[in-house]
Symmetry: C2
C-alpha cells in the first residue's frame, strides 16, 4: 500500500470512530462497531490501531495537529500582534464550525478517560496553545496600552491569562450551540467575537 | 422515611453517580457500581431511580435547578440591567468553581446519549437560560447605547445573541482549566471576566 493510502485509511478510521463515539458514547462503542462501520475485518482495524484508547488518543492528537496547521502556523509570520490575534480568532472559528473536521475537534473537549500517559501528552499540547495565546494577549495589550508589562494609567484590568482562557471558552464552546442552519454563521460570528474581545459588548 | 431524608438520599445518589461517571466514564459505570459506592443494595438504588438514564437526566436537571436558584432567581429583582448582568456573571462563576456542586454542573456539558425525550427537556431549560441572557444583553446595550433596538452611531457591533453565547462559553468553559490551587480564583476571575465583557481586553 502506498504511504498516502495508509494515511488516508488512518484518517478515515479516526473520522468514523469519532462519529460513532459521539452518536453512541465512547464506552458503548466497541472496536467491532468501528470495524463494521468501516466494512473492515477486526484484524484489518487492529492492523492500524491496537486499541480503542489508541484511537481516542489519535483523534485528539489529530485535532491538535489540525489546530497547529490551520490556526497557529498561518499566524506565526504576522508581525503585528493585533493582526495576529484577529487572524487567530478567524481561523480558530473556521476550524470549529467547518464541517470537515468538526467530529474530530469536538472530541478534544469531552472528558473521556484516557490512560494517564496519553492524557498527559494531549494536555501538554493544549497547554502549549494556551501559552501561545497568553503571550499573544500580552503583546497585544502591551502594544496598545504601551505599558511594557506594567500597569499603566490604572489599567490592564484583564490579565493576558484571563483573556486567553476567556477567548478559548468563547471559541471552543461554539460547538455546544452552533447550528449550520442558524443565524450565526462564520461571516457574522467572526467579526462579532473579534469586536467583543477587543472592545466588549459596547464596542 | 421523612421527606427530607428522601431528598437527601436522592441528592447523595446524584452526587456520587456524577463523580463515578466522570472518573470512569458514563457507559463504563453500571447501576451496580453506583449502588456499591453508596453501600446500597441494587434494590435500594432502584427504589430511587429506575435506570442509569434517569440518574443522568436527574443530574442534569438538578444542575439546571442549581442555576435557577443560585444564579437566576437572585438577579431577577435587580432593576438596573448592567448591575443585573454583573451579578449574574459573579453568581454563575461562583456556581461553576464552587466545590459543592462542581461534579453535578460539569455533567451538563458532556455529550452523553440521553433518550430523545429527556434530552429535549434538558435542552429546553438550557435554551431558556440563553434567552434570558440574550434579553439581558439587549437591555444592557440599549441602556448604555440608547439605541432602542436600532443601530446607533454605526454601533452595536456585537448582537445580544453573540454576546450571550460568548459569555456562556467563557463561563461554562472554566471547568476545563480551573484548578483550586491555581492563580485565577473567584476574587480575581470575576472582576476580570466582567471587565472583558463590558470593555474587552483593553478595558
Amino acid at each position: 500500500m502506498a504511504r498516502e493510502t495508509v494515511l488516508d485509511s488512518r484518517q478515515e478510521i479516526l473520522r468514523t470512530a469519532a462519529r460513532l463515539f459521539q452518536q453512541r458514547g465512547y464506552d458503548a462503542t466497541s472496536m467491532n462497531d468501528v470495524a463494521a462501520a468501516l466494512k473492515l475485518s477486526k484484524g484489518g482495524l487492529y492492523h492500524h490501531f491496537q486499541s480503542k484508547d489508541e484511537i481516542l488518543f489519535e483523534i485528539m492528537n489529530h485535532a491538535m495537529e489540525i489546530t497547529q496547521e490551520r490556526v497557529l502556523n498561518p499566524v506565526l509570520d504576522i508581525a503585528d500582534p493585533e493582526e495576529r490575534l484577529r487572524a487567530l480568532i478567524r481561523l480558530h472559528i473556521e476550524v470549529v464550525i467547518g464541517p470537515r473536521d468538526r467530529e474530530i475537534t469536538v472530541m478534544l473537549h469531552e472528558n473521556h478517560p484516557l490512560p494517564p500517559a496519553l492524557r498527559r501528552r494531549i494536555n501538554s499540547r493544549k497547554k502549549d496553545y494556551v501559552h501561545f495565546l497568553e503571550k499573544l494577549m500580552a503583546e497585544v495589550q502591551e502594544k496598545r496600552l504601551g505599558d511594557n508589562g506594567k500597569v499603566h494609567r490604572g489599567g490592564r484590568k484583564v490579565s493576558p491569562r484571563a483573556a486567553a482562557f476567556a477567548l478559548l471558552g468563547m471559541l471552543n464552546w461554539i460547538y455546544q450551540w452552533y447550528k449550520p442552519e442558524g443565524e450565526l454563521q462564520a461571516q457574522n460570528l467572526i467579526p462579532q467575537f473579534t469586536e467583543l474581545i477587543f472592545g466588549g459588548i459596547f464596542a
